[in-house]
């Protein structure tokens, strides 16, 4: 039986995304990914002060709340050839890293876990056995039987209260849930632990950026003057001394807090996140063969040691892997007109050169032209335009970006810790290396890179402290601050590895104002629609061939889609090939 | 329209319109004045008048002592409100920032409480000026609607600025918007009232100084 499956809304993501999929005999033959919300930020950015752009761009996303702000700042700095002080670079690295750790853990527990963890099943767990399970995989301190009993009671009270709130209507009891009750209880406990933990570690952004979400950034450095002075003795008194009453939040207390937060992050990753990933994955090894996607992977690289002009100093290298071939890494050029291009053949945009041509972001255009059905509608015409996302391509090829691409790139480039972690994981799960190209591999890669990044944080922190001790407290370079010092025309690209993948902002500056601004975001690479050649985007490709156990409970779709950690608003419905809706599918 | 909209309007289109009208008006006024021309003086001068013209532009700011004694109130309040107005205008940091953003020039600011005190003194001087204008027979006779309008539009920016700083009457946002609007009103009214004296007095003093100097008198 042929069915068209449409899912709308997909929850536990950022934004609004919709997927329509053809199925044949319960197997997806073609999926179409559609972003259903647009704000026109690129249009809004025109004619504004490039120094302000980060704040606008940052609001592209409140989850990966840092990345667009930083990419924007880097694009302006690249355009103006604007160097920043080493301390600013270190603080940015720390902030990016903190974003990764925070975001990946939250994704795992709060956005992704409920695809694998049956909350209701946890009620049946034996707290003592749960404690034993927990202690067998980690030395995390909160693992006593009493702790799990309390947690279970809390859950029980909640469920018995009859009002399930955010847990309402979950497909609890679906056969695809494979975890034993004890593992479910442990995961639910860690769901709550992670909520409280993330609240804490977000404070690293607050110290340097003033708040989280949406910490502040600055073209030319970071907006957090360091208020310690090498020549003066410390001060502080009494039991009521609160600290932090200094001139800025980056004072002695603040820096000590940063150090504590790094420890807190590392402890949680080591003792909870990594063990939980491995423990849960061991029950879902079949997912190491599903949801692969396009098989092409791309990274831009990030975490510079010597500034953005020295890609060789990046901790995460850049490159392109084609057709799973880890032995050949292709170099990419962000400025080359034929490398990165965006297509709109299936998007609700117009190009002045015609809808079938690709445009490099410098020449990119944002002209809204909705041609879809008038709401309320049941389905989209996926042969025509069907998304507010464009289709970015590298040399005409679709690319998957994100944790898996990075881990593969680190692995292929010989990053030792990554290799160890990957090997350990494959060994533990008893999987071949091909198991990485999958939904499970994608989720595991996210965990592994979190470990790599959290381990690197101390190094940047120590370097920052060493600089301060040596008397270097510079955080901002004011040389090119005034627009009067700028060339009449300039253009640049700011790129970074966002938690969800390669992110680039291209800016064209004219007379001190933004002439054109184009952001090509990770979820556009992954969730974008088909291109003029009919090549699927990664989401679409990853869903192709997926078997649905029960089209009414397509948990499989959510697992694969969530493994990408979508950062857009989407929706999926199920309709028949003629467009007539058969059934609306409930998705967990 | 809420207070923030009003503020944004006043800082945006409002300011553009006001500065536009101001400059339009002032350029027009200068054309009006100079288009009337002036005949060349054929009488041989004792001394060249130009230098004295320039000098009088400044010396006329200082009154003759005897003259000062005759109208101490006018002189004193006049001095205070003019100097006070310009200190507040030129030495309050936000104003310096405004000037910097338009012209690129800047200089150190005075501490805000000092400017605040000067604003109060300026307001008092302006009020005394108004009372004197109403009470004194000469000023009452001379005064036109334009004089009271000019007084009002001069008084309002200082008053609203003071009120905004002290959060009087309305919340700061609205008060700041009103302050900026009052300045814009000043700019709009400026070219069409006696406020033009701020510019034309230099022309007048030059003519006067030059005329007297040709006759050998330092005016």
């Amino acid at each position: 039986m042929n069915q068209r499956v449409v899912v709308d809304p997909i929850t536990r993501i950022e934004g609004h995304l919709r997927i329509e999929a053809e199925t044949e005999g319960g197997i997806i033959t073609q999926a179409s990914s559609s972003g259903t919300m647009v704000r026109g930020i690129e249009i809004i950015l025109r004619d504004r002060d490039p120094r302000d752009a980060w704040a606008f761009a940052q609001r592209i996303c409140g989850v990966c709340t840092l990345v667009h702000g930083l990419a924007s700042v880097r694009s302006v700095e690249n355009a103006l050839n604007y160097p920043i002080p080493p301390n600013a670079q270190l603080i940015r690295n720390l902030m990016i890293a903190a974003q990764y750790v925070h975001d990946h853990v939250m994704h795992f527990y709060h956005l992704h876990a409920l695809d694998w963890v049956d909350v209701v099943s946890a009620l049946k767990a034996d707290p003592k056995a749960t404690s034993e399970l927990a202690q067998s995989i980690s030395n995390y301190s909160k693992s006593s039987p009493g702790y799990f009993a309390d947690m279970q009671k809390k859950l029980k009270d909640f469920v018995e209260g009859g009002q399930l709130g955010i847990f309402a209507n979950g497909y609890w009891g679906h056969p695809a849930y494979k975890l034993p009750p004890e593992a479910n209880l442990m995961a639910v406990a860690h769901y709550l632990e992670a909520l409280s933990w993330q609240r804490e570690v977000a404070k690293l952004h607050t110290i340097f950026g003033g708040k989280n979400p949406h910490p502040n950034f600055l073209v030319g450095g970071v907006p957090c003057a360091i208020s310690v002075h090498p020549d003066h003795p410390g001060r502080g008194k009494g039991p009521h001394y609160r600290g932090g009453g200094g001139a800025t939040s980056v004072d002695l207390t603040g820096l000590q807090k940063v150090k504590d937060l790094i420890t807190q992050m590392r402890d949680f990753v080591d003792q909870v996140y990594v063990p939980d990933t491995l423990a849960i994955a061991s029950f879902y090894k079949d997912w190491a063969h599903q949801g692969e996607g396009v098989g092409n992977f791309m990274t831009y690289g990030d975490f510079p040691a010597n500034g953005m002009d020295d890609p060789a100093s990046f901790m995460v290298p850049s490159g392109v892997i084609l057709n799973r071939d880890l032995s050949t890494i292709h170099e990419l050029d962000m400025n080359a007109a034929d490398h990165i291009q965006e297509y709109v053949s299936h998007s609700w945009y117009d190009y002045s050169v015609g809808k079938d041509q690709g445009l490099h972001p410098y020449d990119g255009e944002t002209t809204l032209n909705y041609t879809g059905p008038k709401p309320p509608y049941e389905h989209l015409d996926v042969d025509q335009s069907y998304s507010w996302l464009k289709s970015p391509r590298w040399k005409g090829k679709p690319m998957e970006v994100g944790p898996l691409a990075r881990v593969l790139m680190l692995h292929a480039r010989g990053h030792e810790q990554t290799r160890e972690l990957v090997n350990m994981t494959l060994r533990t799960l008893d999987l071949p290396v091909e198991g990485l190209f999958s939904t499970l591999g994608r989720t595991a890669a996210r965990t592994l890179e979190t470990k790599v990044i959290v381990d690197a944080m101390s190094g940047w922190y120590n370097q920052l402290i060493a600089n301060i001790k040596a008397g270097d407290v510079r955080t901002f370079n004011d040389k090119l601050w005034e627009p009067s010092t700028w060339p009449k025309q300039a253009r640049g690209v700011g790129y970074m590895e966002a938690p969800r993948g390669a992110l680039g902002h291209w800016i064209v500056i004219k007379d001190g104002k933004i002439d054109n601004y184009q952001a090509v975001v990770p979820s556009t690479w992954n969730a974008g629609p088909r291109d003029p050649q009919g090549q699927d985007g990664p989401y679409e490709a990853a869903l192709k061939g997926q078997a649905l156990h029960d089209p009414k409970q397509p948990i499989e779709i959510l697992r694969t889609i969530h493994s990408f950690d979508p950062c857009i608003a989407c929706a999926v419905h199920v309709t028949d090939p003629d467009g007539e809706e058969l059934v609306k599918v409930k998705v967990l | 329209m809420n207070a923030m909209d009003l503020l944004l309007w006043s800082r945006g289109p409002g300011l553009g319109i006001a500065i536009g009208i101001f400059l339009f008006g002032m350029v027009l006024r200068l054309f009006e004045i100079y288009s009337l021309g002036r005949k060349r003086d054929l009488a041989p001068a004792r001394t060249g008048g130009e230098g004295s013209g320039w000098r009088t532009m400044f010396t006329r700011s200082v009154p003759d002592r005897a003259q000062f004694k005759r109208s101490p109130v006018v002189f004193t309040t006049g001095y205070i409100f003019h100097i006070g107005f310009f200190i507040v205008l030129l030495f309050l940091l936000p104003h310096i920032e405004l000037i910097r953003s338009i012209s690129g020039l800047s200089w150190p600011a005075l501490p805000t409480p000092v400017v605040d005190l000067i604003a109060v003194i300026t307001l008092i001087a302006l009020i005394v000026t108004l009372i004197y204008r109403i009470m004194d027979p000469v000023r009452r006779l001379l005064s036109t609607f334009g004089d009271y309008l000019a007084w009002t539009v001069t008084f309002l920016p200082v008053l609203t600025g003071y009120m905004a700083y002290h959060h009087l009457l309305f919340d700061y946002t609205l008060m700041l918007a009103l302050h900026i609007l009052s300045v814009e009103l000043l700019l709009v009214v400026f070219p069409f009232t006696k406020l033009t004296h701020m510019v034309t007095l230099f022309i007048s003093r030059w003519y006067n100084g030059e005329w007297f100097a040709r006759k050998g008198v330092a005016s």
């Binding site: - | 004045i33 288009s35 532009m57 003759d64 006067n208």
Partner: protein
Amino acid sequence: MTASLQKGINALREVLDAPIASYFSSCVRCGMCAEACLFYTETKDPKYTPIHKVEPLRRLWEQEYTLTGRVKKMFGLSKPVTDEELEEWSPLVYDSCSQCGRCSMVCPVGNDITYMIRKMREGMAISGHAPEGVIGATKRTIELGSPMGIKLPALQTQISKQEAETGLTIPIDVQGADYMALLSSMEIINFPEYLGALAKIFHNAGVSWTLSSEAFEATNSGIQIGVADLARDIVMRIVTAAEKLKVKSVISPECGHAFTALRWEGPNLIGRPYGFKVVHILELLDELRSAGKLKTTGKESEALTYHDPCQIARRGGVVEQPRRLLGDVAADFREMSDPGVWNWCCGGGGGVSANDRAEHLRLTAFKRKKAQLDALGVETMVTACANCRIVLEEGLEHYNMNVKVVGLTELVAEHLVEQEAGK
């Protein structure tokens, strides 16, 4: 609108120029000019505030020469200038303004109000709003040659008398003399000693000079009433005579407005520079003095002071010369308060003395001079303007003050070192 008003307004349109436009644009109605005007200070009547006296002119300027005024006029929002108004303003423009120029010195924005009143009189006179007395004087000047109606025979009589008194020849119509002297009719009638004094001084100093039978009268009522066309005719008589005699310089006599008319306005009235220089007699005396050609002996012992005629000091630039001359001849010179360019007018300049209707006001204004003199306690007041002299004497008499008024030239002449006579 009557034809005369039409003419008047037309005249005002003609005289409105950039300085006046600037002055009106600058006026802040501060009223400080009132305190500079003795007609206000002695009456405390606000209508005598100088800038108020040109209000019709201001309105006309606004209506004719500004965009806002034109717009207002188009919508009928402005009051037109009428005969009634000008009539009302006549006493303000003529009776209460001696053109002394003091207000022009104090105006903080630099307005030359005196200049504006002078220009305003052009419109007032031509539209028939000048006072009878001034009209009469002007008529006499034009028709008879002098405001007091003096003709050549009268002068000749005085010349003979002075020749007899001094034993010196008073040259007349001498071609190629260095200096041509002028007189004011006041001098001819009331102070003929001035002529004798000149003869003595020039004789002693060896200056070649002459009078002209065609143009001996220096005063110019055209300037006072404010009709440029008439003033030009009057000036032209002197220019013609001087150029005919080919003199190098013309000496303006002890008369304030005559100096202004000849020295400062004349070339502008006739539209070309003169072929000769114009000097005031005090300037010449001071020149001779510094050249060592003016030797005096003995000094007046009684206390005396000097009254600066407005047109000679403030509006003429002759301030230091009289003081140097007095230094040679006076032992007890006392400076009045507000001396030099800050002097107070006698109250009769600018045609006020010829204006019968203004007599009461003029005498009221004289209180200022009275107060100055009272404070000084001198017996003699020296001055260098025949008109001032007359006005001062009338004022002194009116207030029963025992102060003598003398002309500076005569005083100098009295102290000349005598040389052999009858050269």
